[in-house]
């Protein structure tokens, strides 16, 4: 807990300075082209933009400690509101992407390791190479073109079709539709989510597949596997019961890291599929010099990152008895 506070304090100072050192003026952005100097001055006064940085930081910190991240300069809405409004979307997309990436990535990695140097192995590795190097905006547009325009299977973008009613509880539409037993909304929200989640999943999928493969190969060469085989256990049991379990240990870390990366990296996917998530929101805020939003978001995100790391470590202890945390 103490460490978390130190990390967040450091992050907030760095963000605060970086954002303000970047060239550009939120006042100009807010007031539009040809605003009078008086209007610009009023805005700068109002948001303390004329005060020294450390004074501004003090203002902000005093509010942030009370859980108030201030109001967005651009939209005038509370930053916490803005984040809470968009977080479920990004969370849902990320979770779906991680699920897809984990399942396909592990299966592909295991197959590829068990059948090393076979066609399947090369196929998986080639696929992984494509997955890592394919730009998501291109892949996204291709997916839309094939599945939405040509085949008419999925919607082009957005979260829910017009005319489908859904009572919003958590803001995660799939979950909300399950909670309210709303079958049409469930189908519709899954349809909307499947392509973007797949597009977002390609990079972590490839990473997981590669990691699984190398980790599997390493495990398969270890003594205990030889012992298992010598005991006369079937190859199937050896591979799937013993080897996979051990090979998965490093994968957990990768998945933990990927969750954080994906939440931040969902920008392009959210743009292509027009999903109102955090990724797109923070990009717009940076472009608009919306200081309170950038600071609030970074703080929020750092917290999330630290928590996800913590969970990863806990899971690690759980699946790998060799690791013990002292302290």
């Amino acid at each position: 807990m103490g460490l978390l506070v130190i990390v967040l304090f450091g992050v907030s100072i760095i963000t605060f300075s970086l954002v303000r050192l970047a060239p550009g003026d939120p006042a100009v952005h807010l007031a539009g082209e040809h605003a009078s100097p008086q209007v610009l001055e009023n805005i700068r006064e109002k948001y303390h933009l004329n005060d020294p940085i450390y004074v501004q930081y003090f203002y902000w910190l005093r509010m942030a400690i009370q859980g108030d991240l201030g109001r967005s300069i651009e939209s005038r809405d509370l930053v916490t509101n803005e984040i809470i409004e968009r977080l479920p979307m990004t969370l849902e997309l990320t979770l779906f992407a991680i699920i897809i990436a984990t399942i396909i990535g592990i299966i592909a990695g295991v197959i590829s390791a068990v059948k090393q140097y076979s066609i399947a192995d090369y196929g998986v590795m080639l696929g992984a190479l494509f997955g890592v190097s394919m730009p998501v905006f291109w892949l996204g547009l291709m997916l839309i073109y094939i599945f939405s325009i040509q085949l008419g299977l999925t919607p082009v973008g957005g979260r829910l079709s017009i005319g489908i009613e859904l009572q919003r509880i958590t803001g995660m539409y799939v979950l909300d539709s399950i909670l309210t037993l709303n079958w049409p909304a469930f189908v519709d929200s899954i349809e909307h989510l499947i392509l973007p989640a797949f597009a977002l999943a390609t990079i972590p999928m490839a990473t997981v597949a590669r990691m699984t493969r190398s980790s599997m190969l390493e495990v398969l060469r270890q003594d205990f596997i030889r012992t298992e085989r010598a005991k006369g256990l079937s190859e199937r049991t050896v591979v799937y019961k013993h080897a996979v379990k051990n090979a998965l240990i490093p994968i957990v870390t990768v998945i933990g890291m990927e969750i954080g990366l994906l939440m931040g990296g969902a920008v392009l996917t959210e743009t292509i599929f027009t999903l109102p998530g955090l990724g797109k929101y923070i990009t717009d805020a940076i472009l608009a010099y919306d200081y309170p939003v950038v600071q609030g978001f970074t703080l929020f995100f750092a917290t999330l990152f630290v928590i996800v790391n913590l969970i990863t470590d806990i899971v690690y202890v759980y699946i790998d008895p060799r690791i013990k945390y002292e302290g």
């Binding site: 100009v28 100097p37 209007v39 839309i144 082009v156 189908v187 349809e191 109102p276 010099y289």
Partner: protein, 562 residues
């Protein structure tokens, strides 16, 4: 692990199942069938693909097109535009009179006009509040907004006064004949004082106007829903609902239109126009846009406006950082005009969806001078002029452009900048290109840092003053807040522009602005490139949409053919 695997397997199976089901489902929008007979225009939902989300829903406190697009269907002003033109007709005011000294306009308000959501009848109090909150620092609502447009379009208004419940007077500090056109702008929309009191800081999320549609919901970055206001004084709109869906990527927008998920879209890429024209299910709606894209040549005559009153007499001359010596010679400026092949730029970089500009404002406005031919492409003449000016071997200059920031008047800034670079190199002028992010770019432009800069303007209210006084007058040679990036003062021109504001006689104004346009072209501080068309695309069953020169989008007369 095992348990989890099963659970995930189940989920995947569900997902696959749902895709299979969706294959059988109807892909169209799910509008309930109208209960009225089939020939009726009433009913249906129009989903419009917008390129961005609204920022705020307070008409006086926004400057971006996306917010205005939503506002325009929720609110109205005292006057409104005639369909498709910038002439004025009565709206919330039924008639108005102008005082002897031309400084007061008195409006009679329409009686019985209702605000949405049961906020009661619109009266003079609401009108006074809608204006006073913008100019009066003592107004209780003043601190809640920036009112960016007020200082720039309405600063001549001194006071708005309630005469009785249905009469208001607008007092101005000096006669300003463009005020009537300005009053049709979103900034002058009338909002409910009662609603503002009820919602306070969150009013920008809960707009209440008197317009044909009322606000229903706003899911940020996703959509904004409006529904027909049953109590609209002009009669109920045909459409039941208008939904603005945010689809930032133009390719995704067009795909959504092709798939029928949206019924209309804005800002198609020039490269998409042909695709839209070829598709029998789609219609392209185009018109010359009320904009101009230009290059300004910095002549270095800037000043600081000490009192902020736009009066040059009170200013103090200062150096302009981007001042460029060769541009002080009019022959050099003319040479640049002749050296740039504007026709080729329009053909290749606007995909033909623009007209070549020969003066500082678009055709169709009052005061557009049809006698001006401008500077046709003539590199030989350009070389000769450079030689006469003593620059036979040319010179080196930096052209600022907007890089990846696409604006209506410059859809592909980088390409256009490169074309200009190549044209000028043919007459011996070496052009270096420079770009930076849009916010900083504007700031630096206003500070006069650019020797040669690409910029443009989309009109606000359709009045010539909103182009000529904003872009080419002495008043805006102010270093730090400039609008005239040519930084060349021109007293005779300023006089003409001032006089044009003093008369409410349309014919007189027309004559004066024609003269002003000629003076601006002769001064040659701005190279006018193009007026880009505004384009929208709709599904072919959407009828009745009339494109507006200001690029504002009014869905009141629109209906959906069943």
């Amino acid at each position: 692990m095992k348990k989890e695997g099963k659970l995930l397997g189940l989920l995947i199976a569900l997902i696959m199942l749902s895709s299979v089901f969706s294959g059988c489902a109807d892909q169209g929008t799910t509008t309930p069938p109208s209960t009225t007979d089939a020939t009726s225009k009433y009913g249906g939902t129009l989903v419009f693909g917008s390129s961005g989300d609204a920022v705020r829903l307070d008409p006086a406190d926004v400057t971006d097109g996306e917010s205005i697009q939503r506002m325009d269907n929720i609110h109205e002003g005292l006057v409104m535009y005639e369909e498709g033109t910038t002439s004025i007709k009565p709206a919330l005011a039924t008639e108005w009179t102008i005082s002897e000294d031309k400084k007061t306009i008195t409006f009679k308000l329409r009686k019985g006009v209702q605000f949405h959501k049961g906020f009661g009848e619109m009266t003079a109090d609401d009108v006074v509040f809608s204006f006073a909150r913008q100019y009066d620092v003592n107004n209780w609502y003043h601190d809640k907004g920036e009112w960016a447009y007020w200082g720039y379009m309405f600063s001549d208004i001194e006071k708005v006064e309630k005469i009785d419940d249905y009469t208001v007077a607008i007092h101005m500090t000096k006669p300003n004949s463009s005020m009537m056109t300005s009053l049709a702008m979103f900034t002058a929309d009338i909002v409910s004082e009662k609603a503002a009191k009820q919602y306070g800081d969150d009013y920008f999320k809960n707009p209440v106007g008197t317009g044909p549609f009322e606000f229903v919901e706003w899911v940020k970055d996703d959509h904004i829903t409006l529904k027909a206001f049953e109590g609209y004084w002009g009669g109920r709109a045909y459409l039941d609902q208008v939904i603005f869906r945010v689809i930032p990527d133009p390719s995704a927008r067009l795909m959504a239109l092709q798939a029928g998920e949206v019924d209309g879209m804005e800002y198609p890429d020039p490269s998409q126009l042909e695709i839209i024209k070829q598709n029998p299910n789609l219609q392209l709606v185009s018109q010359a846009g009320m904009n101009v894209g230009y290059i300004a040549l910095n002549c270095g005559e800037g000043y600081v406006d000490k009192n902020g009153n736009y009066q040059w007499d009170d200013g103090e001359e200062v150096a302009v950082p981007g001042e460029f010596e060769p541009f002080k010679d009019i022959r050099v400026r003319q040479a640049i005009q002749y050296a740039i092949n504007k026709e080729a730029i329009v053909k290749n970089l606007y995909n033909g969806a623009a007209t070549v500009a020969v003066q500082g404002m678009p055709p169709g406005l009052l005061g557009y001078n049809y006698d001006i031919v401008g500077y046709p492409y003539n590199p030989d003449k350009a070389k000769q002029l450079l030689k006469d000016a003593g620059y036979e071997n040319g010179f080196e200059v930096t052209l600022w452009h907007m890089g990846s920031t696409s604006r209506p008047y410059f859809p592909e800034p980088t390409g256009i900048a490169e074309a200009i670079q190549s044209d000028l190199s043919k007459v011996g002028i070496k052009v270096n290109l420079f770009t930076e992010d849009w916010g900083t770019y504007l700031q630096d432009a206003e500070a006069g840092k650019a020797p040669m800069i690409m910029l443009g303007w989309s009109g606000d209210n359709g009045d010539p003053d909103n182009f000529l006084n904003v872009l080419y007058s002495d008043h805006v040679c102010t270093v730090g807040s400039a609008g005239n990036y040519g930084f060349k003062r021109n007293a005779p021109l300023q006089k003409v522009l001032n006089n044009a504001l003093l008369t409410f006689d349309q014919e007189q104004r027309d004559t004066l602005y024609k003269l002003a346009n000629k003076m601006i072209v002769d001064e040659s501080t701005h190279v006018f490139i193009a007026h880009a068309d505004q384009n929208l695309a709709f599904r072919s069953n959407i009828k009745g949409f009339v494109i507006h020169p200001t690029d504002r989008k009014f869905f009141y007369p629109v209906y959906k053919e069943k």
